[in-house]
């Protein structure tokens, strides 16, 4: 039962994840690019963000950087959504403050749900 923000430039993906996550009872907001993403982070104040890397108008890395710059936003766990499986890109994201990453074409929506649960549990404990 958490507030989750999904930022991804693919509307089909947004719809899928929104459906999946709301079926689990989470409150879901979506954003289609980095700019909208930042706005919604400030307005919506989510408990978790699913963040795509490759997006127009500000990519995932930039969003991460901005979030790290803010005291409150720093605390929000971020899961990177990506199709690249190059370790270097993922590492970069992790260095920039992402909590973990999800490889879209490898993991099923159920697995994503599980992942999210684990992350939220961890942050709740902290």
């Amino acid at each position: 039962m958490a507030k989750i923000l999904i930022v991804d430039d693919s509307p089909a993906l947004l719809e899928l994840y929104e459906f999946t996550l709301s079926s689990e009872g989470h409150k879901v907001e979506t954003a289609k690019d980095g700019v909208e993403g930042m706005e919604k982070v400030k307005k919506f104040k989510p408990d978790l963000v699913l963040l795509d890397i490759l997006m127009p108008n500000k990519d995932g890395f930039e969003v991460l950087k901005e979030m790290q710059g803010d005291e409150k936003m720093k605390e929000i766990p971020v899961l990177l959504l990506t199709n690249v499986d190059e370790q270097s890109k993922v590492d970069r994201g992790l260095k920039l403050g992402a909590t973990d990453y999800i490889v879209k074409f490898q993991q099923t929506p159920n697995q994503v749900v599980e992942e999210i649960k684990q992350v939220l549990q961890k942050t709740d404990k902290e």
């Binding site: 693919s10 089909a12 993906l13 899928l16 994840y17 074409f105 490898q106």
Partner: protein
């Protein structure tokens, strides 16, 4: 021998000498009437002849003629001696170098000589009287003998010798030989003259033999005549033969002369003629032999020249073929011109078809280049002339495809540099001739080599022309090779570029394709398994499954493509961790169980009896490998077959075995099995789809892990893949591997044993 005989002999000898001297003098004169040497020779040979004659005739005078005549005889002898010395002096001045006798030598000596002759003949100042002796007589010399005659004769003799020596020093080889002969003759004459005229009388106290010294003058005359006329053929064998024949003829002649009866005389004359003719033939054959030998020597020399030319060409060739760089090749060619041909140097031009120009390409370096560098405002290779403009020697050579010569640089390079500059350059380098040799490659003229020589065109031998053409031929081949190689290199570059583009394309395409694939995957999973959507009908479930499988296949293909391009770029990175092979195999089996069941194939895993220790591997990649092999096994095993997996620790290795009862791999196909995009013919029959990348990647991954693969197969029976991974691979966590390097042991091995594949 009786005195009479000896006297007879002597008479014959004198006649002979007289006749021969005059004969030789006339012969030499007739041979070349204009040459002063010949004229003076005639003079002194005549003088010598008469001198000897009168010296001899004096022998008769005491007995038959009054005393005055004896004195006259003596006077005549000394007159002729004077004339002889003067003529000889003149001769020594002009022979053999053909100097003109200056008037200050000619007239004074002639006049003083004539005066002396007059004095001698008509006054008692030189020869005054005779004193009768038991054996003959002695001459009594006049008052002026010691004052005029003796000094003059000594002066003339010494001056003649000095002349000859001076002439010797400026003579060429042939002339020197001629002079050597004269010295030889002179030497013989002087020696015998001194011996018989001075030494012997001292010993025997009689002047009886002094005349022999005079007679040896014939040698002097003979040798000199020889030197003048036979100046081309100085060979010791010929000379000895000629002397032998001459002596024989002389002896026979004298014999005729002293024969006592006409009959004897006739016989001896016949013998003389036969012998002389025989001798003549002998001399001719000796000369012929010598000439032949000389011809052989000449040919041998030509052969030697040709041989050394060949060696030079070989040296040039060796240097040229050692490089495929066109700049180096052409530079090597022009540098060989001064080095091998010993010319001043040269340069090379090539035809540029596209721009319709003749372009300078290379010039022989070193001192030449330095000296003319101040005339070259731009680098040498920037010079060019239009093709087909005013015809230069270069253009002519190219048009006629022939070796062209020119004595004028401005004519050679017309159109490229100004006439003034060309003339200046030529002057500085003292070049007399330019030779332009066209370079012909495959029937077309592609350029020319220009040779610069310091000798006239006429002095260029045939062999040199051939050399120049040969060098141009070598240049043609070398340039063609270099150009072809350039093309090949360009093509290679292009291919590399294309390969790179292909990889980049694959990368980008794969990435971009993944997005929709992942979306499809997500939706299918959600549609199949979500509470909100609800349960599907059996048919819907089945259809969903089909879509999912197809989608998974797509994802796998994309993964393979990406891996492929990454491997080709050498970028396979291994994420090394301590992995548990047992659990990996279990996972794979679990995942592929469903598919195996659908094909009614038994997929079994024989768990290891002892626990297998963890090993440093890239788990995801090894998983991929095992998945690929099991997938293949399932694909290529017909229904109701079995696929068995097992894991075993053998020494320092882990062996993962995948055994199937499938269609097997034919022997012919083995070598290509692990290549990209290769699929066996029987495989295509069974399973038409399948991109054939899988085994290639399997190989690369095992290779990167320093492991190896063992393969056994029998068509129709089955296949066993044994994967070996080593605990001592040296792989460490986080290590990056360059996938292009091969592992030491060699990756794929084949075992021929007949296995039980079930």
């Amino acid at each position: 021998m009786e005195l009479a005989q000896i006297k007879g002999w002597e008479a014959g000898l004198v006649v002979l000498i007289f006749v021969v001297s005059i004969f030789l003098g006339i012969l030499v004169f007739l041979k070349n009437r204009k040459d002063k040497s010949n004229i003076y020779f005639l003079g002194f040979s005549l003088s010598c002849a008469f001198l000897i004659l009168f010296a001899y005739l004096s022998e008769f005078f005491p007995r038959t003629i009054p005393q005055l005549s004896l004195v006259l005889g003596g006077k005549l002898v000394f007159s002729f001696a004077t004339l002889l010395l003067i003529f000889f002096f003149y001769f020594s001045y002009v022979f053999p170098v053909n100097k003109r006798l200056p008037y200050y030598f000619f007239w004074p000596f002639l006049i003083s000589g004539l005066i002396l002759v007059v004095l001698c003949l008509f006054t008692p100042f030189i020869v005054k009287d005779i004193k009768l002796q038991p054996w003959g007589f002695n001459l009594v010399y006049g008052s002026l003998y010691n004052v005029i005659f003796l000094p003059l004769s000594i002066l003339l003799t010494i001056a003649s010798l000095i002349n000859l020596i001076l002439n010797y020093r400026v003579s060429d080889k042939l002339q020197k030989t001629q002079l050597k002969f004269i010295f030889l003759g002179l030497g013989v004459f002087l020696c015998s003259g001194v011996f018989f005229g001075a030494i012997l009388p001292l010993i025997t106290e009689s002047q009886e033999f002094y005349r022999v010294g005079n007679y040896s003058a014939i040698f002097f005359i003979g040798f000199t005549a020889y030197a003048i006329t036979k100046h081309k053929l100085f060979n010791i064998r010929v000379i000895i033969t000629e002397i032998a024949v001459a002596i024989l003829s002389a002896v026979l002649f004298i014999e005729v002369f002293i024969s006592r009866s006409i009959a004897e005389g006739v016989i001896k004359a016949v013998v003389l003629i036969v012998a002389t003719y025989g001798g003549y033939l002998l001399i001719r054959s000796v000369i012929k032999e010598i000439e032949q030998r000389k011809e052989m020597e000449r040919l041998a020399k030509r052969l030697e020249v040709a041989n050394s030319n060949l060696l030079a060409l070989q040296r040039i060739n060796n240097k040229i073929v050692s490089t495929l760089d066109i700049k180096k090749v052409t530079q090597e060619i022009v540098d060989s011109i001064p080095r091998e041909l010993k010319y001043v140097g040269g340069f090379l031009v090539l035809v540029d078809e596209r721009h319709h120009r003749i372009k300078a390409h290379a010039i022989s370096g070193g001192k030449i280049l330095k000296r003319i560098s101040r005339f070259l405002k731009k680098p040498f290779t920037d010079y060019s002339a239009p093709l087909g403009g005013e015809e230069s020697a270069i253009q002519k050579a190219i048009r006629k495809v022939e070796l062209e010569f020119s004595a004028d640089l401005s004519e050679v390079v017309k159109g490229a540099i100004s006439t003034k500059k060309a003339k200046a350059v030529q002057k500085i380098l003292r070049i007399k001739t330019f030779a332009v040799s066209p370079i012909v490659s495959r029937g077309k003229v592609i350029g020319a080599i220009i040779f610069a020589l310091r000798k006239e065109k006429e002095k260029i031998k045939d062999e040199e022309r051939k050399m120049m053409s040969s060098i141009a031929d070598q240049a043609a081949i070398a340039i063609e090779n270099a150009q072809l190689y350039e093309q090949v290199e360009k093509i290679n570059e292009r291919l590399k570029e294309l390969d790179k583009l292909k990889n980049e394309f694959l990368s980008i395409a794969s990435h971009q394709v993944r997005t929709p694939l992942s979306i499809i995957k997500g939706y299918i999973h959600t549609l199949s398994d979500n509470k909100k959507i609800g349960k599907l009908t059996k048919q819907q479930e089945r259809f969903m499954r089909n879509i999912q499988e197809a989608n998974d296949q797509l994802i796998n293909i994309m993964n393979d493509f990406l891996n492929l391009s990454r491997i080709e770029q050498g970028r396979m990175k291994l994420d090394i961790t301590k992995g548990d092979i047992d659990s990996i195999v279990k996972e794979v089996v679990e995942r592929l169980k469903i598919e195996a069941e659908r094909k009614k194939i038994k997929l079994l895993y024989a768990e290891p009896k002892k626990k297998i220790d963890k090993i440093n591997i890239d788990e995801s990649k090894i998983t991929e490998v095992i998945t690929n092999l099991v997938d293949n096994a399932i694909k290529y095993t017909p229904e109701k077959g079995t696929v068995k997996l097992s894991v075993k620790k053998i020494g320092k290795n882990i062996r993962i075995r995948i055994k199937d009862t499938g269609i097997g791999i034919p022997k012919e196909f083995r070598d290509r099995l692990f290549q990209k995009f290769a699929r066996a013919s029987n495989a295509i029959q069974v399973q038409p789809s399948g991109n054939g990348i899988g085994l290639f990647l399997v190989q690369q991954i095992i290779n990167a892990h320093q492991g190896y693969i063992e393969l056994s197969s029998e068509v129709g029976k089955g296949t066993i893949f044994n994967l070996y991974l080593s605990y001592e691979s040296g792989l460490k966590k986080g290590k990056e591997i360059d996938a292009t390097k091969l592992s030491k042991k060699g990756i794929i091995r084949y075992r021929e044993h007949k296995y039980n594949y079930s």
